[in-house]
Amino acid sequence: MSAGIDLDNVCCDFGSFRAVDHVNVNIQPGEFFSFLGPSGCGKTTILRMISGFTDPSSGAIRIGGKDMKGQRPNQRPTALIFQNLALFPLMPIWENISFGLEVRGVDKATRRKKADELLALVDLPDAGDKMVSQLSGGQKQRVAIARALAVEPSVMLLDEPLSALDLKLRQHMRAELRAIQKRTGVTFIYITHDQGEALAMSDRVGVMSQGRLQQVANPRDIYNNPVNGFVASFVGENNILPGSVQNPGAGIASFETAIGTFRARLGDQSKGDVKLYVRPEHMTLLAAAGAENSVPVTVADVSFEGNFIAVQGVTANGTTLTAELRNDGSATVPAPGTQMHMTFDAARAAILPNTTGA
């Protein structure tokens, strides 16, 4: 069983501070949805409102079409996995996992059986009789997931559950979480400030800044077609050039900057100030000038990053541009001091408002 969630103009104020500002989103049943944003942007507050620990100041939250106003956390079909997991250290693992069943008056033998099933599901058989302190970080993580799954929630809410783990384990757990979500079909609402995590796991991502939802889209669109400068720079790297639009219209437009005039996709202009955003991996290095969107640069620095090579070029007026070359032997790596040209495809660059869409 899984349920959809509607956030309808949800706001949350703490005193005079607005932590969540008019958030609107419909999350589908069975969807893996992530809220992505920097620290303090209101992600945890949204999750606490969905689970019922914090009341929205205005707006409505519906789960499975049912208005949740006045419903206590223990009456909602949600299960929250806390940022610090909040396992019960004085109970053995199996009692942790079956706590939600104990609450529902399930007898001990059934509880134990269910706990063992869930431990198998999260790939931790035989851990039932251990204590919480005897488990590693990744194992605790899985126990927290099993404990939440035990109550068969329609919606799982996860608050940066992987942030305490090391890189390798985090990558492993990403795949694991995704697999568990697919296996159970439960709606997952996942919170993170790690863009890689959000893009890799989610069906859709909602990018947040200062309490506002900036863009809701699938990971591909978030990365390739960000709606504003905040989304473009929070998700991935950019070369950012200030300037002004020459011939406003739909589609591709000319954009005049201090280092030349370029052609690029024109985004929303109604929000005032716009800038040109080009991802470093969309920059190409050429020995001779390209047909369009080409700037002469002097290679200043070359850094080897493993799967790619970052080349920094300085233009005549001192602007630094970065290009990333794939480390597959196809491109020749220039030496510092070489004169080259950086160029990019108009369809791969965007003119975006740099405000966060207030």
């Binding site: 689970s51 956390p73 949600t78 909040a86 706590f99 104990e102 529902r104 404990r147 109550v151």
Partner: protein, 307 residues
Amino acid sequence: MQDLLRRYGAALTAAFILLTGFWLLVLVILPNITLFEASFRPYLPVVDVGGPRDTYSLNNYAKILDNSVDGSILGIPVHMPVHILTFLLTITYSALVTILCFCLAYPLAFYLSKVVSPRSLPTLFLMLFVPLWVSEVLRAFAWYIILALKGPLNWFLLTLGLIDAPVRWIAGYDGIIIGLVYTYVLFMVFPIYNAIQSLDTNQIEAADDLGASWWRIHWRIVLPHSKPGIASGAVMVFMLSAGSLLVPSLLGSPNSNWFTQTIQQWMLESQDWNTGSAYAFMLLILCTVFVSLVMRLFRVKLTDIAK
């Protein structure tokens, strides 16, 4: 130790250690050793002290078995030596005081540590502490006045129509129990407050989120976590109550007797310090045994309490 040396230098550190040592040795250990030694010697006229009749024996301790009487403990009729009866009544009512203190302190401690906003906490603590600034004698007298037959409590209840006739509050052990609970309840509040304070609020919320009712949250999460705090509070309240002399003397009734009053009678009225000491050590040892047994029963270890 290293830390002390670094912070205060050798001279001051030595002074601290000497003073602490002096306090322990001269003001705590020596008097107790003197009394302990005296408890094994007979009570003799001054001329006989050190004479042939001044020999060590357990006679003073055996006096507790003298004079069997009829009495009752919590309504159960018993027939036993009068001083043993007094001792059993003392630990029974001390245990009752401990339980009452817990019932009052636990909700208060939970409220202070998890419900009130941190900003109003200093005010609340101040209000809890203010009564402690008044001397214990005055506080006990205040209760004596409040509980008097024609005192304010009866007047208040009569005016409200809650009772038809004045209640004799200071009857049997009732006055003592009220007085002891009032005097020692804070010794229960603070250890429990500290314990609950250290509980991660997310654990309470996690249990809530999993559907637990509030009593189950307390029974399964908060109470087990605060067990060491409850244990240290209970040990303090129990020991202080059993060893209290002032409250039983002031708020006792003609038919109440606390074991400390028996000790006082030996020491002051009979001038027999030897038997008085023997009784005092019996109180200490038996209370310690009782507390250890109860702690074993509730599976609490001393090291948990020290945490």
